[in-house]
Point group: C2
Chain length 495, copies 2
Amino acid sequence: MNLKKIYSTSLSLLTDLYQITMAYGYWKQGMAEQEAVFHLYFRKNPFQGGYTVAAGLEYAVDYLQQLQFTEEDLAYLAGLKDGRNAPLFEQGFLDYLRELRFTCDVDAIPEGTVVFPNEPLIRVRGPLLQAQLVETPLLTIVNFQTLIATKASRIAESAKGDQVIEFGMRRAQGIDGALAATRAAYVGGVDATSNVLAGQLFDIPVRGTHAHSWVQAFESEKAAFQAYGDAFPHDSVFLVDTYNTLDGVRHAIEVARSLQPSGFKLNGIRLDSGDLTYLSIEARKLLDEAGLMETNIVASNDLNEHIISSLKQEGARINVWGIGTQLVTAYDQPALGGVYKLAALQHTDGHWRYNIKLSEQLEKTSNPGIQQVRRFYDAQGYIADMIFNELEPLPEQTLVMHPLDSTHRKAIPAGTAYTDLLVPVLRKGALVYELPDLQAIRKHRTTELSKLHESIRRLLNPHRYPAGLEASFHQLKTNLVLEIREKGEAAVQGR
Amino acid sequence: MNLKKIYSTSLSLLTDLYQITMAYGYWKQGMAEQEAVFHLYFRKNPFQGGYTVAAGLEYAVDYLQQLQFTEEDLAYLAGLKDGRNAPLFEQGFLDYLRELRFTCDVDAIPEGTVVFPNEPLIRVRGPLLQAQLVETPLLTIVNFQTLIATKASRIAESAKGDQVIEFGMRRAQGIDGALAATRAAYVGGVDATSNVLAGQLFDIPVRGTHAHSWVQAFESEKAAFQAYGDAFPHDSVFLVDTYNTLDGVRHAIEVARSLQPSGFKLNGIRLDSGDLTYLSIEARKLLDEAGLMETNIVASNDLNEHIISSLKQEGARINVWGIGTQLVTAYDQPALGGVYKLAALQHTDGHWRYNIKLSEQLEKTSNPGIQQVRRFYDAQGYIADMIFNELEPLPEQTLVMHPLDSTHRKAIPAGTAYTDLLVPVLRKGALVYELPDLQAIRKHRTTELSKLHESIRRLLNPHRYPAGLEASFHQLKTNLVLEIREKGEAAVQGR
């Protein structure tokens, strides 16, 4: 994909003003090029779930690589005035921005990987000014796509192998709210979309049925089905609930029969209202009696993973699910709440200084250092994740501590297989990672989920996957927090 | 504004596949040019509120005017295959699409107008194929912007004249989820945004403070404030809660004093955590004691209209509000649920046939005809809205019926002043409406709200504004529903 193909405007101003005012401040202080490390992470799995599916990296990389202030951008910034109507920025700073290219190192967890709270999805290391500037768009892109991929994964899991089609564009939050949602939903496990532009841009299969207005536009429901069947002899899904659902099913069957001699095959019927369990069971009977055993029953109408589960439990005979609003807006939790925090700054003497953001709430206190996530596994699947600090040596004994409750700890036997999740993506701004295509990302997500115990994949009250801090890293963080609490800010400063 | 300035891709494929399959079906049936009327409306005020603020029309008009299938679009459609791997569409249809331009008449309620359930925000009249094709993007654009403008209006109302700044980009649903949200929030009454690209594209004032990372990057909080103050002598808002909020306020005051000789004036301090009521009261005292009576107290941290109201009630001394996630995602209700329904189709003999979509739930049964909304008012403000059908003469006595409860009715005395809300926007696809700029739209919203009784503007349990169907129109609809229920679909067909 290529954001330039979608957006004609430069996206360099796609950020909060304070990123640019801070950039100006760093530039004025001569701190612009100071080496810094930031991590992007979230604090809680969304939807009260047990896992999260990383998504959005390709979009993010694309944004970073095309970061460049155009003359139009600079003219806009030059026109901004301060409280006394003087220019907000000096010309020298705008000249600096004109030459600016993104030259940071970026490490990230590949899309489709299952991830857990506090794990850095993206790590940015490089000049402070640049690493700070990209905070907002990285968050916008990754927060949203990760949220939707996770929602889609939950929905796909609840459908237990049935086909799931995303058709939420009309309720999406804006144009890219639709495009990015469709992409992320596909990453997360839906099989197709109604969004034609997303189909074109991202090579996602597109599917469609017809609307009630199609039926209303004809003299009778049968005439409407007949006309649609004529147009789509091998791809017709008739929407049967415009007047009376079961009559609609009967009309669909009659039309399917009358068109059969010409090679017509009824692909499906769609239910969009009423008691979906009862109606799907009755529809299945009617279709089967008519010999239409292969005709699918598609359902839509404000569905989500919980409704799908409950319909399945009740014995509904639906085998294709159309999901709109609840998926593309992540209706029950429309924001992931990911953050991007400074974790280390290099001093002129080459030493790193740790940075943490304190908070009254321990879960909101950020982690310092240059972080990596190590995932331990065996033949059965994933065992535990350990966030550690690359600036310090790892102790021989591997112990993972719950980030909020140090009495929860897990010892990892020596020799346990592992993989480090953050992989090099950009080096000095240049792409060093082969971005996988969406098919590969989808396959990766499926493999990932198969390695999580089903108790962790459970929709409600899932088991907590052990993901925590390496013990010596946990100790380092604890010491830092205690020191700051005890001695005040002087403790963190000037290390 | 100009969507082409934002998007480099053609937006003609920004629709559900079924719009294009139905278009194909209509084209094959020779029904493509049959005159049709659709209305876009919603069924319930969002956020359990008493009113809704229309928004998104300019975006929508821009989309309609640039509707044109490019060769790339057509090549994509030509490549779509049916279930047997044959092309989904005939070449003749693609040739038809190549020549297609939007030639419908569009009437709409201007942006910033207060609107109520069932009132058509947009009415599209023209060739069936075209009017159907644009359903999805019209809904995407208008649903979202109307939702956010309404949320922003509620937030602005709760702030009672204080400045409100939108800074939700990092949690927005995608790139346009941020851009369109900022635009709509500005329509709805926020005063400025942190979103620089939206500032540039839509000419919205931009504002910013600094992040915690700014403070962390310096040797001490005071050094951080000093450096920021040096860079922005007239626009500094210091974020004071990185270590300890009230110490932070003291540091801000010390820095303000030390910089004063050089002409520095502390614009504000920002609180981003903790007990905002207590902290703002204490901070105000400290600032006032230091003679910084004009220094603003800005607050942020997951605020919404209810929290603002409650902080105000508790006596918080905040006078600038920064609102993010809750505003740009409309967190408590992230979709408006607007729909777009066929209401009338013209027959070859020139007669119109009414269309309604039946439902088990009366509130989901659509209204037929060619609709207009008449708003009655007097010197005190708005009295009632009446949806009526332009295809039938109005009776002499004006009676407005509650759409769901016919025992609720309101007689409007003859001679009452009124205005018809839907105004001509496009005629045969050409713009006949002067699109107001955002300033004018904002002013219009303010005037509109001033004409609504405050009981209707109440955040919780508002009074219901009388908006209903003109009595003879209500009767016509009732007769249609009864006829269909009694005689089945035959009743509606062939009128």
